[in-house]
Assembly symmetry: C2
Homo-oligomer: 162 residues x 2
């Protein structure tokens, strides 16, 4: 499989997982956390599912399409491990969804970052809330959820905090 093939599968898996979780959560209140703004495509998708007023985006810098940039209140700039502690103070237990698309070419470093982030995510996500991730994050109390049709296990991950 070429890198183009595997990229298409991964991005489609991301979209399908977010769509599925948003359906499961219909009517639930809470904020949504997006880790990595990038070019803003996934933020735009989350916005179409949840509305911009509840979405907080974390990234080191803003490099997105001008139409896909959150306002200053919803854009948390800096190293995520530096910015998360203060964010936890503000929003503990109030997130219904955290989406972590943080993988780089360095698999070990990506998992290490995901594990460090999970300490804060566990405080932010409300009971019954979801974590959707490109990394396999194993945390006590996070229950692996079934994936959408067509998404192969290991390509993307959905957890529900119990």
């Amino acid at each position: 499989m070429s890198r183009l093939d595997s990229f298409i599968r991964r991005v489609s898996a991301q979209r399908d997982c977010l769509n599925m979780v948003s359906k499961e959560m219909q009517g639930r209140t809470g904020i949504v956390l997006e880790f990595g703004l990038g070019n803003g495509r996934t933020y735009d998708h989350l916005r179409s599912l949840f509305g911009p007023e509840d979405i907080y985006v974390f990234d080191r810098q803003v490099n997105a399409h001008p139409d896909c940039i959150p306002d200053d209140d919803h854009m948390i700039l800096g190293d995520v491990l530096q910015t998360l502690p203060a964010f936890v103070d503000r929003f503990e237990g109030r997130a219904k969804l955290a989406h972590c698309d943080i993988g780089t070419g360095d698999k070990e470093a990506s998992i290490a970052l995901a594990m460090k982030m999970s300490v804060y995510l566990n405080k932010l996500v409300q009971t019954g809330g979801y974590i959707v991730s490109d990394q396999d994050i194993q945390v006590d109390g996070w229950v692996v959820q079934p994936l959408p049709e067509g998404v192969k296990p290991g390509r993307y991950f959905i957890y529900q905090k119990t």
Copy 2:
């Protein structure tokens, strides 16, 4: 439709168009031109279809995954409108496929670039060869080809030089 949705459709269309054209061309000799290396995903896909020895890639700089970088002989660095004339001198009439994924956010500029490039492409592509493009390039003698199943007209373009 979110930017994520439309991105997935566009990249899938690209992959499906390239796959279709490669089937049509089975057994044909000639070089393959890729405009824009980017992160190297599409180059990797072309390489899986055609083999690296026939693929020449044009870009201003190399910014790709280390596994997806052509050797120096096959990487044409610089402004494409500056590098194409000398390339035409070397390879006139010898390309079986040119793939142009050159669109930026600026639609008018993208079409203008495609039209300027088409003068050189018309000299490079052999009779019966294909141009696959993210832009609608209308050139005398380039015949619009049917798209793969599931690819909506206007999302990607295939031409055969007659």
